[in-house]
């Protein structure tokens, strides 16, 4: 271990490390070969061993030379990029009249969107200025020594980090299986209290796994990864390798807490009220005000429920009120325009449900969310396609 040293990723002091690598290699004495120690972070560090003294005197391999050349080139490139970024940042700070030393990335984004306003739809297509590390993704460091021998036994698979990970997962799984069998023989059951809770987690998505491994993987390989992770997690003793599993899990957002519930205001009559603007459904648009306490009065564009002629729309309007058991306890005022009856009542339904959150407890909010009342229904009519009868339906086709 003492003879191993870390080779940082391209761009991060690579020249220095490479120089010291060579020096180290010259100084190094014999070391048991094939001792690889790679920590979980594949991208930031790759361990390099000093080669035995016998090989030291050999020439540096062509591959290593090419690599070193590439590394220095890349390092210089990154250096200039850094310099340019710093200068750009300084200019921006001057233009915005701020201090260049304390100019943060957020300030940069703000300045760019102010100085270069863009009407482009995709945020990725708009002008941006970021640190070179973010713009140019991390690259792998040398995977072979001066003689051209790869460090990793799975170097020739092309994706050593990925297959190493698969091996590790299977090793962990086998360890747990063995443990399970031993415990079964002894008649000990797994601890229920320590059971691994993964309800709020998700196995790392493909793109994130790729950045972590610094390797691009195929879809089927990702499926293999997620399947073997599932197998590991399914084991009753999964809590024994919690630390390992958690490295490849991503926490999920709690859905009901994503939207902040607004505090109700007080009107001149001393009643609590809350207004939701921009309630949208299909092409309808509505503003909904809910007042508490009330007598169950509903007014839509100045009319009562009879504004809607069909029963379905009326029923839809009352759905959230009925569901939260506040029917007859609140007053509803709505202004709605555009769209047909179904869309209008859908817009008002969503508005009422959003308003009612302020008058019910957290459990009810979650219940309403699960009933599908708090989701904005953004579905629109699908367009008709040419060569087809409608959005999906095809013309009848007869061969002869």
């Amino acid at each position: 271990m003492s003879k191993t040293m870390a080779l940082r990723v391209f761009g991060l002091n690579l020249v220095k490390t490479n120089r010291s690598l060579l020096q180290n290699a010259c100084k190094a004495t014999a070391l048991p070969a094939g001792q690889t120690v790679a920590e979980a972070s594949y991208a930031t560090e790759v361990t390099v061993h000093a080669s035995p003294a016998a090989i030291q005197k050999q020439k540096v391999s062509k591959a290593m030379k090419a690599y070193l050349k590439r590394a220095t080139e890349h390092d210089e490139f990154m250096k200039t990029q850094h310099l340019e970024f710093q200068i750009g940042k300084r200019h921006l700070a001057n233009m915005m009249g701020a201090d260049a030393e304390t100019f943060t990335q957020e300030d940069i984004d703000e300045a760019i969107s102010y100085l270069f306003p863009s009407g482009l739809y995709d945020p990725k297509a708009r002008p941006a200025m970021k640190t070179p590390e973010e713009v140019f993704p991390a690259r792998k460091a040398a995977e072979f020594d001066e003689t051209g021998r790869p460090f990793h036994s799975m170097f020739y698979t092309g994706k050593p980090n990925f297959f190493q990970l698969l091996h590790e997962i299977v090793e962990e799984t086998n360890k747990l299986y063995e443990l399970e069998e031993r415990m079964l023989r002894r008649g000990i059951k797994p601890d229920e209290n320590q059971k691994l809770e993964i309800a709020g987690f998700q196995v790392l998505p493909k793109d994130q796994l790729e950045t972590q491994l610094v390797e691009s993987i195929a879809d089927i390989e990702y499926t293999n990864f997620s399947n073997s992770m599932d197998r590991l997690i399914a084991s009753p003793y999964a809590y024994k390798s919690k630390a390992f599993i958690e490295r490849y899990l991503k926490p999920l957002m709690d859905q009901s807490k994503q939207l902040e519930v607004p505090k109700p205001k007080i009107d001149e009559q001393g009643r609590q009220y809350i207004t939701t603007y921009e309630c949208l459904r299909k092409t309808a648009r509505a503003d909904v005000t809910v007042r508490m306490p009330g007598t169950g009065k509903i007014s839509i564009n100045g009319q009562d429920v009879s504004y809607f002629e069909d029963e379905n729309s009326r029923e839809q309007l009352l759905f959230p009120l009925n569901y939260s058991e506040l029917l007859g306890k609140v007053d509803v005022e709505a202004n709605v325009e555009g769209g047909g009856p179904s869309g209008q009542s859908g817009a008002i339904r969503w508005g009422i449900a959003m308003c009612l959150r302020s008058f019910v407890d957290q459990e009810m909010i979650e219940s309403m969310r699960l009933a599908g009342l708090l989701t904005r229904d953004y579905r629109r009519r699908e367009r008709k396609k040419f060569g087809q009868e409608g959005a999906r339906r095809k013309y009848t086709w007869k061969k002869r």
């Binding site: 949208l280 029963e311 219940s367 009933a371 953004y378």
Partner: protein
């Protein structure tokens, strides 16, 4: 996917049409009944799943029922669902009136007369659900009528289709709600054309049981 969702919301605000469906990872909305059946640990699983918006014909009242909604859809012609809804509610009214009349005519067995029209519809559909179906399978150049078990969904579909077919077949001078009401009442009591049709299908399947092995060989 979350990104798609955000884009979809944005696009709907700016009036640009892009999405016509919810993404795959969205869950279906739950009914209050289902939520009560689930225990707490099962419910916590849903905390992290985004839920689709409830459909515009959903409502969680005591009157809402899946079979009722399906029946309404099957009655609908040319997308005129409001009319179908009216027809079905008229059917329920006729059933209710007929049953109430029966209740008053025979005060002795009050327990035996069901006046709940919605319950009667469900009962009628359950009574007329087939278990098996004949499908023709070609083996050795000969078509055999082979009895095949059908799925739950299809059995419900067939039951409702037969009820409606029987109603449409009747005299054209009488309006649909009346014809349908009588069919439902008959089926709920285990008699009438629909039940006979179901029994016929079962009988045919029984007589063709010798061919049953052609399903897999």
């Amino acid at each position: 996917m979350a990104v798609f969702y955000r884009i979809a919301i944005q696009s709907s605000i700016y009036g640009c049409r892009s999405m016509s469906m919810f993404p795959k990872h969205f869950g279906d909305p739950l009914r209050k009944k289902d939520m009560e059946d689930l225990n707490k640990s099962e419910l916590t699983k849903f905390y992290h799943i985004p839920i689709k918006a409830a459909l515009n014909n959903h409502s969680d009242t005591v009157f809402s029922d899946e079979i009722k909604l399906k029946m309404m859809n099957y009655i609908t012609k040319n997308g005129n669902k409001a009319l179908a809804r009216g027809l079905l509610s008229r059917t329920f009214e006729i059933i209710k009136r007929a049953q109430t009349e029966r209740l008053h005519l025979s005060p002795t067995d009050k327990q035996n007369v069901n006046t709940n029209a919605e319950k009667l519809l469900i009962e009628a559909v359950e009574n007329s659900r087939p278990l098996l179906q004949l499908t023709s399978i070609k083996r050795g150049g000969v078509n055999y009528q082979v009895p095949v078990p059908i799925t739950k969904k299809r059995s419900y579909f067939l039951a409702m289709k037969w009820l409606l077919d029987a109603a449409f077949e009747k005299d054209k001078k009488v309006c649909l709600p009346e014809r349908l009401a009588w069919e439902i009442l008959d089926a709920a009591h285990g008699q009438g054309r629909v039940i006979k049709k179901k029994d016929d299908v079962h009988k045919q399947c029984e007589s063709n049981r010798a061919y049953a092995h052609y399903r897999w060989s």
